[in-house]
């Protein structure tokens, strides 16, 4: 573990990724205490509408007169919750199913794969839209919809990777050494599958934030006046191009968050694979 941390510290892009993530994380935890106008998350202040960036409002104010910087910082909490919850539950469903489907039996594996085909045949955004429409639009509906549409992707990559690893000679050697199949699956195959899970998860965090933003943009995710980044961009379109700051800064926030997840994911993947450590 110490060794792993040492490797990550030496990796410059990893440090950048962790730094960005730490900033976003602190914003998510203590946003109320860090921003100049915490009440602006929800309260409209019509007397200061559409103010361009200034010393008082560094990212300007939006069409309702709310401070964009304050809303951005407070919005990070929702973005992170959506990303983590969605990816966590997708992993809980997708990873074990993929492992079992890849390691045990043909019929079960085929069944699971056809099931994922059904889910994958419908574009993620469309399925999420359907769910959001059936139920009341809210952040939790968006998370549920995203989870339901994202687990098949986990399942697929874990399945194919499990099959590849399970066919490798070291699994035969372990069987011949009297290793139980459960132990082979969880202690030996799972660590080999871990890199693709991490990649999938970090890409997933980024994609999830983007799709959640898109759902918010379409009015099917978070409801106003929740400070959600996608929603902020959606609300800002009326004021373009003159009120550029209202949409540009949330966009940059989404970009930085997605970037930090990807940097961390790449670094973790390289650090846990002993064969890639050499190159550092």
């Amino acid at each position: 573990m110490k060794y792993l941390i040492g490797l990550l510290i030496r990796d410059k892009t990893a440090v950048l990724g962790f730094f960005l993530f730490a900033v976003i994380f602190f914003c998510a935890i203590g946003g109320e205490y860090m921003v100049p106008y915490p009440e602006d998350a929800f309260d409209a202040k019509p007397w200061q509408r559409m103010l361009p960036p200034s010393a008082e409002h560094i990212f300007g104010t939006d069409g309702m007169g709310r401070d964009v910087f304050s809303r951005l910082v407070l919005g990070s909490r929702i973005a992170l919750i959506i990303a983590f919850v969605t990816v966590f539950f997708s992993m809980i469903i997708g990873v074990p199913l993929g492992l079992f489907a890849g390691y045990y039996g043909k019929k079960f594996g085929q069944f699971i794969m056809r099931l994922t085909d059904v889910f994958l045949a419908v574009p993620q955004l469309v399925l999420a839209l359907v769910f959001a429409t059936i139920m009341r639009p809210s952040v939790s509906t968006a998370m549920l919809a995203l989870t339901i549409t994202y687990w098949p992707l986990f399942c697929r990559v874990v399945y194919s990777e499990t099959r590849r690893v399970a066919a490798s000679p070291f699994v035969d050697a372990l069987e011949a050494a009297g290793c139980s199949s459960k132990r082979i699956l969880f202690m030996h195959i799972l660590p080999n599958v871990l890199p693709v899970i991490i990649i999938r998860a970090t890409i997933g965090m980024g994609v999830t934030i983007l799709v959640a933003a898109a759902l918010g943009f379409l009015g099917l995710g978070a409801v106003p006046p929740t400070p959600e980044w996608g929603l902020m961009i959606a609300e800002s379109q009326r004021y373009l191009p003159s009120g550029w700051w209202i949409s540009v800064f949330p966009g940059i926030a989404i970009l930085i968050t997605v970037l930090s997840f990807n940097l961390i994911g790449d670094a973790l993947r390289d650090a846990i694979d002993p064969r890639l450590r050499r190159s550092r």
Binding site: S168, P169, F170, D172, A173, L174, E175, A176, A177, G178, C179, S180, H188, P191, N192, I272, D273, P274, R275
Partner: protein, 328 residues
């Protein structure tokens, strides 16, 4: 074939078939051999003759669509074919029977240090009462020293990719010997290595086997290897034993045409590299009569009429050839 039951391992009339969409493939047909305590038996034949299936049958690791239609595998008085999966994995595999896989490059999990992986075997299969880590490490270090790995203590913390092919194969030998098995199954343990390393590894294996009183079943297709370290030889063709007996008379005076042909393939003479024309008989539709007939230089039309029977010769050798069947 009559076989003495007092051996360490006694494979008797083992027949295995695999169910495929194209019909049943008869992989093994009445294979019989025995291994005495401390003896090295060479199992020789071309690819696809069923050598690896013999090993998988002993370990109980045949694929799900395989059926053992006949035979017994008596190991220390008990029939391995009658044991269930959990009995096999707790008391046979890794503990009483060690296995050395074919390709050392891929025989280790790349994500763990070799020490961790080998000691895992000790944790399940080490001697009862001393399965703790430290005694496992002590035993492993002793063995690594014996398989001539320098600085064994620091080697335990290395990852598989940090070793050369020869070193990895030595590690695998140490892993197979760790829990002091009675029998080691070596499935072409040196095919992935260069010739010099092959020699060293095989002699190491044979020497350690002799020293610890461990029997070795060595699968190979190299007669050079066999002539040096084996006590007895079993030659297989298309799932059948064709010639089986002590090494010396077989090497000096091979009788079965297949044995002769195999020995001629060994490039030790000045002649050019030669092979046996044709391919191994299909296990889906084995030829009637002698299975080697389509490729046999001594084949007669009468060979296709009937299956041959085993004939025991004066020098202790079993032969499975219609020619000799006639004579007696």
């Amino acid at each position: 074939m009559n076989i003495d039951q007092d051996n360490l391992l006694c494979v008797k009339d083992l027949s295995v078939s695999i169910h495929t969409p194209n019909g049943n493939a008869y992989i093994l047909h009445q294979v019989s051999f025995e291994i005495k305590q401390g003896e090295v038996l060479g199992l020789i034949g071309e690819s696809g003759c069923g050598k690896s299936t013999v090993i998988k049958s002993i370990l109980g690791l045949l694929p799900g669509n395989a059926i053992v239609s006949q035979g017994q595998i008596i190991f220390k008085g008990q029939d391995l074919l009658k044991l269930n999966e959990s009995q096999l994995s707790t008391s046979i595999r890794g503990q009483r029977v060690g296995f050395i896989p074919q390709d050392p490059a891929q025989a280790f999990n790349p994500n763990f240090t070799v020490g961790e992986q080998i000691l895992e075997i000790w944790r399940w299969h080490g001697p009862v009462g001393s399965r703790d880590r430290q005694s496992g490490i002590n035993q492993l270090i002793y063995l690594l020293d014996r398989v001539q790995i320098a600085d064994p203590i620091s080697m335990l913390n290395r990852y598989p990719h940090q070793f050369s092919g020869g070193q990895r194969q030595r590690l695998l030998i140490a892993a197979a010997l760790l829990c002091k098995p009675d029998l080691v199954l070596a499935d072409e343990p040196t095919t992935a290595l260069d010739v010099t390393t092959q020699q060293q590894i095989l002699h190491l294996l044979a020497d350690l086997g002799k020293e610890f009183g461990i029997s070795v079943l060595l699968v190979t297709h190299d007669f050079g290897v066999v002539s040096q370290i084996c006590d007895r030889i079993n030659i297989m063709y298309a799932g059948q034993t064709v010639e089986y007996g002590p090494k010396r008379p077989m090497l000096q005076n091979p009788e079965h045409p297949y044995t002769v042909a195999l020995m001629n393939c060994h490039p030790n003479k000045l002649n050019s590299l030669s092979g046996i024309p044709g391919v191994v008989a299909s296990s889906l539709e084995p030829p009637t009569g002698c299975r080697f007939l389509p490729r046999c230089i001594r084949g007669l039309p009468s060979c296709s009429n009937r299956e041959s029977n085993f004939v025991l010769r004066d020098d202790g050798r079993y032969l499975n050839c219609t020619h000799y069947d006639y004579v007696i």
